[in-house]
Symmetry: C2
Subunit: 352 residues, 2 copies
């Protein structure tokens, strides 16, 4: 239903970005990258949660060298997130980083950019030109201030600089903590360029505030057909970013992972039990990757009928609950046991 | 930054909708409307949470008559949500409903619509033409199936029917549980009509899933300039709908209510304390209506500098925390006491 913007395709390791490839989900570790064991463990947890590409901050040369062991252990491509020091970019590339992110605002002189691009070219490493509203070049800030035009101009001038070196394996991000600014900047850039876009809203906040902010900003862009890969930024465990990201792709009917939980609108008497039931089903279903649908209905009379299109469902009420499968009642159990019974049936049916 | 679609203005009680009026937040009670005491209490709680218009389901004539006492007690306009029975609409209007919502798919014959419209006209009551993908007219379903065109055609034909009776105080909704379908239907309708729009996604799900779904769908429409009033639909306490709604308006920089919490991106060592601190500040600040900003920073060295634009802030680390105001450190306290101290200072400063 969404007409996607046409973009060229690049690779980040074995993941294709743009050119019709599935919209991929990214996150970023918040471990100390030099602590290889902790970083590898967090990447593994992110992978299991459904993360497809991960970035790690490169704060010094030791962190850059750690990319050797991190990329070897990782099940997904690893991007080196670079600020300020082009030498860290080169070391990370030579240590196996699948891509690097550089910020036009702080990577430095043309010579330094050239050295980085040559290393990337020699090692099959792609580059994210990662513009951020918080760190725009001083001349742009002076002339135009923080606005969508500045973000776009920063990206464009950096792209031209890299293209002049014969390098084209780039994706672009233009992030701000303001949702309208982010939305406007990506829309403006998307009309002028066919480089694939990494979308996201920076410093989005806590799980609640950040989910709302990222869902609105990223959701609006994806519904407009813009975005080839994205990160939901949250203050907290990065695995939560993946949970929100998949929920968003599911809501937009772009990609599915794991069950969809359908719960009926509440009505007076059954409300409290229903909310708890629905949230418990959602929590327990979070570990499943099968794309089944599960309906949680408050009303035992109309429940199976209303949810007739769901693969599985439960309908609770008056102490007894019904379990149904494709709209047919298959079991009647006490309300306390209904969730255990449902998940037992899923196991029996080989759903995981 | 957002160019809003121009729409005509109507009134729902004393709240103006469309024509440049502030985008208003709605919710719906899930009490039994006939239980007047419970319904009034829930409306009061919704009002205190920041709800500006509330709907109540009208299931029978007793519920319709209850509107007399409900509208008298309510601090905000009350809409009667009608399905199937036009007599309930008329009774609710005559009992003081500030607006009614009727569904073109199930309100019945032209005669019935005429009786409802005449009652609305006589009582200064406005009408929401509330199309829902789940209850489209049979002829539309047969010809076109469930699609954006069907939703738009259903609304248009019902609007024409009501306009032919000389009535124009209408707003329109075209809801579906599918986000892309909802987005497409509103965009299509917005291009063809200047009636104000009530936007939302139906049956959005639990707090988590529903927040993501509504933020994406409603957020995308609002960023496109579409929408004059909206409801976030969640399975659960309707006051949570209001919390998400305000968070969304805040994220889109459309309207503000209550503090904005800014938390720094996590880094290894301070992460866990920071997330807890930020969430605790968010929880305690939820009862405030002042539009201050509060920064929660992990790093006591750079915290005040990084958050220099926040009204208030705390920076935790190594057992001690700093409290700052407009970027200046005003107090150093132990980390356990920092939140109590911060909220004590807010009270002293008359922030509520």
């Amino acid at each position: 239903m969404i007409n996607r913007r046409e973009s060229k395709q690049i690779n980040v390791g074995n993941v294709k970005i743009g050119g019709g490839a599935p919209i991929s989900i990214q996150s970023m570790t918040n471990t100390d990258t030099r602590d290889i064991e902790a970083t590898n463990a967090q990447i593994q947890a992110l992978y299991e949660a459904g993360c497809e590409i991960v970035s790690c901050a490169v704060v010094d040369i030791e962190a850059a060298k750690a990319f050797r062991q991190i990329t070897e252990a990782s099940s997904i491509p690893v991007i080196a997130d670079i600020h300020f020091d082009h030498k860290l970019a080169i070391e990370a590339i030579e240590s196996g980083a699948h891509a690097i992110r550089i910020n036009p605002g702080n990577i430095g002189s043309a010579d330094k950019v050239k050295a980085v691009v040559e290393a990337a070219k020699a090692n099959g490493c792609s580059i994210r030109v990662g513009v951020n509203a918080g760190s725009l070049e001083k001349d742009l800030l002076k002339k135009h201030g923080v606005c969508a035009e500045s973000l776009v101009m920063s990206a464009e001038s950096h792209i031209r600089q890299i293209e002049a070196l014969g390098f084209y394996d780039m994706k672009v991000s233009l992030k701000a903590s303001s949702v309208p600014l982010t939305f406007q900047a990506y829309r403006m850039f998307a009309e002028k360029s066919d480089y694939p876009l990494h979308i996201g809203v920076t410093e989005a906040g806590t799980f609640f505030a950040g989910s709302v902010k990222s869902s609105a900003g990223i959701g609006a862009l994806l519904l407009s057909g813009i975005g080839d890969t994205f990160r939901v930024s949250l203050t907290g465990d990065p695995a939560e970013e993946i949970r929100v990201a998949w929920q968003l792709l599911n809501a937009l009917e772009i990609r599915r992972r794991g069950p969809e939980i359908i719960s009926c609108p509440t009505c007076g008497r059954t409300e409290i039990a229903l909310v708890k039931l629905a949230e418990e089903v959602e929590r327990r279903a979070a570990s499943l990757t099968s794309t089944i649908s599960i309906a949680v209905m408050g009303c035992p009379v109309n429940g199976p009928g209303e949810a007739r299109e769901a693969d599985y469902g439960i309908a609770g009420g008056k102490g007894n609950g019904l379990i149904f499968k494709k709209g047919e009642i298959i079991k009647k159990v006490s309300e306390e046991k209904i969730i255990d019974e449902l998940f037992g049936i899923l196991v029996d049916d080989g759903i995981n």
